[in-house]
């Protein structure tokens, strides 16, 4: 039987943290891309497109992330195309992230005063010019703090990928626990590592929020 020292445990957990980070990055970049698309769909003048996007957002915000993960993982298999835990987790987290980011960004775009739209149109700017020169720069500034804040939710969301067998930080924790029977140390370390990833982001989001507030934008 192999003996695990404290440092072996820590080293293995740190190695697994890489996959938590990679999965978070995939989910965040993928989610931002899809989310951006959805945000513009939601703001379009086509009523059906608007309805479809809000249905999408409601569906993903109203169901557990774990179920989304299961449906994609087992659903793909049931349709005769089994996919890896990697791919299932990436897809589920991307869709989940996109729904939340779409909701956040729509709020930011709508937070820019309506009068500015009218003013720009009166000045002879068309829809795209108004978006590009007036609305987007302001909305972008508003959107950064909540987006950074949401990235914490994405990192925490990746922990669920452990349940379909993807070996990231949480899964590594349960596996090490099965080998060493030191649950207290291991799960405290796992929590500490997540905290080390998330807390700086939370603080940064709060700092950005305060900066906006001080600038009188909120």
């Amino acid at each position: 039987m192999i003996e695990f020292t404290f440092w072996d445990i820590l080293r293995n957990l740190l190695l697994a943290t890489r996959w938590t980070i990679v999965l978070s990055l995939i989910a965040f970049v993928g989610g931002a891309t899809v989310g951006l698309l959805l945000t513009f769909m939601r703001l379009s003048s086509n009523r059906w497109l608007q309805r479809l996007t809000s249905l999408y957002v409601d569906l993903f915000q109203g169901t557990p992330l774990l179920m989304q993960l299961f449906l994609i993982f087992f659903g793909a298999a049931a349709m005769g195309h089994p996919i890896s835990a990697w791919l299932a987790a990436s897809i589920a987290l991307t869709l989940f992230t996109s729904a939340f980011l779409c909701d956040i960004w729509r709020g930011c775009l709508e937070a820019v005063a309506k009068g500015q739209w009218h003013a720009s149109r009166v000045l002879g700017m068309n829809y795209f010019q108004t978006m590009r020169h007036v609305i987007l720069p302001q909305a972008l500034r508003l959107s950064i703090p909540p987006t950074v804040g949401f990235s914490v939710q994405v990192i925490k969301g990746t922990a669920l990928a452990s349940i379909i067998g993807f070996v990231e930080l949480t899964k590594a924790g349960t596996m090490l626990n099965n080998a060493t029977f030191e649950p207290f140390t291991i799960f405290a370390l796992v929590a500490l590592l997540y905290f080390a990833l998330c807390y700086p982001l939370s603080c940064y989001a709060r700092y950005l929020e305060k900066k906006l507030y001080d600038a009188g934008l909120r």
């Binding site: 992330l65 087992f74 349709m79 669920l160 649950p183 207290f184 905290f195």
Partner: protein, 225 residues
Amino acid sequence: MGPTLDFLTLLPYVSELLKGFTTTVVLTVVTTLTGLSLAVAVAYLRVNAQPWVRWGLGGYVEVTRNTPFIVQLFFIFFGLPGLGIKIDAITAAFIAMTLNLAAYSAEILRAGISATAKGQLEAGRALGMTTLQSYRHIVLVPAFARVYPALISQSIIVMLGSAVVSQISVFDLTYAANFIQSRNFRSFEVYLLITLVYLLLAFGMRRSFMLVGKRVFAYQQGEQR
């Protein structure tokens, strides 16, 4: 021929579905009440207690908000027995959900509380209300009314997050789904149905919260508008 969906294969498992549904609902109702009550206490103490209590509670709130729920659950269920504290799965789920909801809600409530003007509290005292009375009527209830929508969303997030308690073998909706799909091998149908149930639960929760809010905060409505 492609695979087809067959929901009839779920029929023999109605009792398991009901059992899981009941567990999820009971857990949610109980933890929403305990979690929000604890949140009030934490929010109050984070503003008014001695510095070391404030720091301690600040630490609890930050750790809870910056670690995944599943890790908190595992720490309580698997980790604490290492210290000699043995708890069963449903208690662990109850504790983890309560602590999780309380940490988030305390932070939400704190924002609502700090929005109360200081002069109002002093006015209350001047009118002859006791400290507790003025705190309750002038600070707490209006703060609750102000952040009520955020508290609804947070309680729903915790309910949806409770799907994870199936991992420590609490017989909730998700556990029922896992149990059924291990018998009839119809994973997609089971998970689709359960997802729909969660969706309805979230919808129902929002509705009942709003009904309660309309009654409880009725006299606040004038101020809100």
